[in-house]
């Protein structure tokens, strides 16, 4: 019996994430069209709602081309690493309070581990291998440049990411994500309590997910397609999937750490049945993640890409001192 509950949760999260990725691509195209004063894809199905299906079918039917000089095994392994890392990070994120179903309390997170945040940091530090290895194994100058850029970028921004989380951890006093969410009850979100940490963390998240303005690893105008220049068909699709899955996970982490997770103020006092409260909390989590995703997309289409030296300067000379200063300020405030 013990194995069924996690399995159901895993399948549930997996399906939700895949569906969200498919429609996130559509949303991204529609929003970009809106910002650029175009219409965007609206032909497949009513209002273009079946566009994701068409895209996926196209990706599956395309020929899979592997360059002759490529390292075949690593070339196939790289997109898998990217996707697996992006999907498994979700395991420790609580997407709701416990729910009472079929006569038992079900905790709405897949893995309840003692070191939740460290698990997220550890996995996100592995995500860089997918990109670096794909760049190296393609045996292409542009791909290699993209791969090298991404490893330099990830190392620089991981540091400020980890340091900015410490501010939250100091207030919450735990590494468990469910406890962190619980400590943000009644609208006491960490977004208000540690604004510097929130800003540095969001910026670092943009860099970690390779989204504009930090998408130097793929930078189309300079590097053709960066690390995925030599990928086609569904292998390219996997990178695509991984990028959007990463975005969803990053948004979920931002919501969990800074925007109160599944907390919905005042909902406990109206006198609704428990099940309705649980469902509303899950919905609140979904809406918050959706809004952060929208923020990711709007930023992509409004802010131009940084130059490489600017990227490194921001990472080491602005973000790192800011994150360190935040730890100091939080420490002083806690003692005081």
């Amino acid at each position: 019996m013990d194995i069924i509950e996690p399995l159901v949760k895993i399948v549930f999260i997996f399906l939700i994430t895949l569906t969200t990725v498919a429609y996130l691509v559509l949303v991204e195209r529609r929003v970009s069209a809106f910002i650029q004063n175009r219409i965007g894809p609206n032909r497949v199905g009513p209002a273009g709602l079946l566009q994701p299906v068409a895209d996926i079918v196209k990706l599956f039917l395309k020929e899979d081309i592997v360059p002759k000089a490529a390292n075949k095994f690593v070339h196939s392994l790289a997109p898998l690493i990217s996707l697996v890392v992006a999907m498994t990070t979700f395991a420790v994120i609580p997407f709701g309070n416990s729910i009472h179903l079929f006569g038992r309390d079900i905790k709405l997170m897949i893995a309840d581990v003692n070191v939740g945040i460290l698990y997220i940091l550890a996995l996100s530090s592995l995500g860089v291998y997918g990109i670096t290895l794909s760049g190296w194994s393609s045996n292409n100058k542009y791909s290699l440049l993209g791969g090298l850029r991404s490893s330099a970028q990830m190392i620089s921004y991981e540091l400020s990411m980890g340091l900015s989380i410490i501010g939250v951890l100091m207030i919450a006093g735990t590494l468990r994500l469910d406890k962190i969410v619980e400590s943000q009850a009644q609208g006491m979100w960490y977004f208000w309590r540690t604004p510097i940490s929130f800003i540095t963390f969001v910026i670092a998240s943009f860099a970690e997910t390779n989204r504009l303005p930090f998408d130097l690893p793929e930078a189309e105008p300079e590097l053709v397609g960066g690390y995925h220049t030599e990928y086609s068909g569904m292998k390219f699709g996997l990178f695509f999937l991984a990028e959007y899955a990463n975005m969803i996970t990053a948004s979920a982490i931002i919501v969990t750490l800074y925007l109160g997770g599944w907390q919905l103020p005042f909902v406990g006092h109206i006198g609704l049945p428990d099940l309705a409260v649980s469902l509303l909390q899950i919905a609140a989590f979904g809406v918050k993640v959706g809004l952060v995703l929208l923020f990711f997309i709007v930023i992509r289409w409004t802010i131009p890409r940084f130059r490489y030296d600017q990227l490194m300067n921001i990472g080491w000379k602005v973000m790192l001192p800011l994150a360190l200063a935040n730890i100091l300020i939080t420490g002083v405030a806690l003692l005081w």
Binding site: N71, V74, V113, N114, V115, L118, Y119, L121, A122, L123, S125, L126, V128, Y129, T132, L133, W136, L144, G147, L148, S151, A152, M154, I155, E158, L175
Partner: protein
């Protein structure tokens, strides 16, 4: 065999295999990949010992950060010519063989003659000892001095690295 034992043997065999493959591979990038796999297995083994914190730090620091730097350097240097590397070995290879034989003999000695009379001791709070809280508490009380000395050492290393990097650009 219990579930834990199955996991342990799987990870142990995989760790040994990846360690051997790391040495045997000609291509430095492949070697680095096997080393990453090895670090991963070690992280898993720490998990079977209930040491969640060490396991995560193993993956975060070794597999995640240090190996990325390794790969970065390997890719930039492009050490394609392994025959030239070989010529340097000579004496070092024989020394290495000598040391590894000595190590194997030591290990055999310990396992065959010493392990039987020193019974395995398990601490009463083994599950607690791996948690972040416990590690932090011990680091700041019992092992405070070594901890602070290590941080000083790291600071000195950082300053040294910065000076080395600066010199090159000045010339």
């Amino acid at each position: 065999m219990s579930f834990e034992q199955v996991v342990f043997y799987f990870l142990a065999v995989l760790a040994a295999f990846s360690a051997v493959m790391m040495i045997l591979q000609r291509n430095p990038v492949n070697s680095a990949l096997y080393l990453i796999l090895n670090f991963f297995c070690l992280g898993g083994l720490y998990l079977t010992l209930n040491a969640q914190f060490i396991a995560m730090v193993q993956v975060l620091v070794y597999a995640g950060a240090i190996m990325v730097l390794f790969l970065f350097v390997i890719m930039l240097l492009n050490l394609g010519d392994d025959r030239r590397l070989r010529e340097h070995l000579g004496l070092r290879m024989y020394l290495g063989i000598g040391f590894s034989v000595a190590l194997v003999l030591e290990l055999l000695f310990i396992f065959l003659f010493r392990s039987s009379n020193s019974a395995v001791q398990q601490s009463a709070n083994a599950a607690e000892m791996g948690t972040v809280e416990y590690v932090g508490k011990v680091l700041f009380t019992r092992f405070l001095f070594p901890f602070e000395v290590t941080s000083l050492l790291l600071l000195a290393a950082i300053v040294g690295a910065v000076i080395l990097a600066k010199k090159k650009t000045a010339e």
